[in-house]
């Protein structure tokens, strides 16, 4: 090999590596940093990372907090506006794109899913988890990321 190609190849491999990391290959989703969002969205369940759903999903969700997956999660209008602003700005297709990676693959642009656990990519990543494991008393369903991903609150979702 011609020696002069070496720096170029090195550069390309560094770029490829960074791309892989930035594309979400490392299972990192920046956790919620806004204290109000953390408090309001993290009382009943973990405050899910905004980069786990597209902006249109967050807008749809914030439009019906009175019936939030069957529960009354309503907040005053000022608080709701602040939460929505944060979620929309850091969503999977806006500011949180670098964390979302391929999370939105297979989600139609006119579809605004409300459940992270129904995204095709999420389903694929969790296909090996059995029904019995989801029912385990320390897990209690798919909403409880922390039960298995002990570092989820810090943004890390490695196995």
């Amino acid at each position: 090999m011609n020696l002069s190609y070496r720096p170029l190849l090195l550069g390309i491999s560094v770029l490829a590596f960074s791309a892989a990391v930035l594309a979400g290959g490392n299972h990192y989703f920046a956790p919620v940093a806004d204290p109000v969002v953390l408090e309001e969205c993290g009382s009943c369940h973990m405050a899910y990372a905004p980069s786990m759903l597209p902006a249109r999903s967050w807008k749809r969700m914030m439009g019906d907090l009175g019936k939030h997956f069957g529960d009354d999660a309503s907040v005053d209008t000022q608080t709701a506006a602040r939460i929505e602003r944060y979620l929309v700005a850091n969503a999977a297709d806006t500011g949180g794109r670098q964390y979302a990676g391929k999370l939105l693959r297979g989600v139609a642009p006119d579809n605004a899913p409300l459940r992270i656990t129904e995204l095709p990519k999420w389903l694929r990543e969790h296909r090996e988890v059995s029904a019995r494991e989801w029912r385990h008393k320390e897990v209690r369903g798919k909403a409880n990321c922390v039960a298995c991903h002990s570092e989820a609150a810090r943004g890390y979702y490695d196995d």
């Binding site: 009382s43 009943c44 369940h45 973990m46 999660a73 309503s74 320390e138 209690r140 909403a143 039960a147």
Partner: protein
């Protein structure tokens, strides 16, 4: 000089004689008591015993999967509870979680949501006061 001291003493005595600047919890209870009195002129104070009953009884008017406060909070307010999605809830008793009920807006927010879900209606000021009394005295 001695006049100054007497004056100072007077001010200190005045401060000490005022009921200890009731914290947010007492302010809430005072507010609930006033509202309870308006609703029922015969109202004669909150009862931790009634609060305990309220906390532990089952209601039929709310959501089927949360018939009681204990559905999520557990039956012993001094112990942690757990939401239906699996997240731990810090104990409700002030003796176990001293930071509870210091933000009136937060207290009202949760009464609004939870009374609606468990009882199927808003809680009355007397119910709120009874329950809060139970949680602060436990």
């Amino acid at each position: 000089m001695s006049r100054f001291n007497i004056k100072t003493l007077g001010v200190v005595a005045l401060i000490l004689s005022t009921p200890v600047a009731a914290g947010p919890r007492d302010a809430l209870l005072t507010q609930y008591a006033a509202a309870a009195k308006v609703a029922t002129p015969a109202f004669s104070g909150f009862s931790a015993a009634r609060g305990k009953t309220l906390h532990s009884q089952n209601f039929a008017g709310g959501k089927a999967d949360t018939p009681a406060c204990g559905s999520c909070h557990g039956n012993d307010p001094r112990a942690a509870g757990r939401t239906r999605s699996g997240k731990a809830i810090e104990a409700m008793a002030v003796s176990a979680t001293p930071t509870r009920y210091l933000d009136p807006a937060k207290v009202e927010k949760w009464f609004r949501r939870n009374c609606n879900e468990v009882l199927g209606r808003a809680c009355t000021p007397r119910e709120k006061g009874d329950w809060l009394t139970y949680m602060t005295q436990l």
